[in-house]
């Protein structure tokens, strides 16, 4: 098997209108077993996937927002959010969940791996990825 690759999961859709967000999350969870360098990117309506306080109790949908909080434990190192997409929807990073990350071996830790980035940074991050999964 080749060296570790940079995986980027590009999440572009709202969490509950279609199944893409949930099935994307399933790939991330399964993919954790493969020990790649994993980042997630949230753009367009995808930023809604990280909005805190979501309540699906009246829509008969499983609320999977809590699962995003655990992604640090699944080897996800970065969760980038598009600034422009947030602003266009009247959101700021204060509206988003926080996700902790810790390396169990080195005990290195990051309080919150959710980070807002601008279009230029997004272009760079995508360009330097080896694999882009687009959902």
């Amino acid at each position: 098997m080749s060296d570790v690759k940079k995986f980027m999961y590009l999440n572009r859709r709202a969490p509950y209108g279609t199944i893409y967000a949930w099935e994307s999350l399933e790939v991330v969870l399964i993919g954790a077993a493969f020990d790649q360098e994993v980042s997630l990117m949230f753009i367009d309506d995808g930023v809604y996937q990280l909005v805190k306080g979501s309540d699906t109790s009246e829509s008969d949908m499983k609320n999977f927002t809590p699962t995003y909080r655990t992604l640090g434990d699944y080897g996800v190192r970065h969760m980038y959010v598009d600034k422009e997409s947030l602003e266009a929807r009247g959101l700021t990073t204060d509206d988003l969940i926080e996700v902790e990350w810790e390396d169990w071996e080195t005990e290195e830790s990051v309080d919150n791996i959710v980070e807002a980035v601008d279009a230029g940074q997004i272009a760079e991050l995508l360009a330097e990825s080896d694999v882009v999964f687009s959902f």
Partner: protein
Amino acid sequence: MKLAVQVNEGPYQHQASDSAYHFTKAALEKGHEVFRVFFYHDGVLNGTRLTTPPQDDRNIVNRWVELAEKHDLDLVLCVAAAQRRGIVDDGEAERNGKDATNIAPKFRISGLGQLIEAAIQCDRLVVFGD
């Protein structure tokens, strides 16, 4: 080049499967290797042999089957996506107590690990969908 192809949409409703087919066929004819075609989301609906399009239309499922027969392509349907959408092979029918199967020949049902493995092994992962 060694390629992996991902198809995220079902047949007829969306062009993704058509585009993926034409891309895969062209890549193979140019001498590239297609390591695997992985069907995800509604893309798993490309793998039912019960599809019956009008006679004057393309048969998207059979087209994949014929391409796989010619080039020994690995056509993989995601198991979780297939279970949700009622795509069943012998193993799934037995495991889940279903009274029928509908998977097309040359397709197989397997896990998401097959997608990750393909992405790691290949030079490019090419995704078809919206």
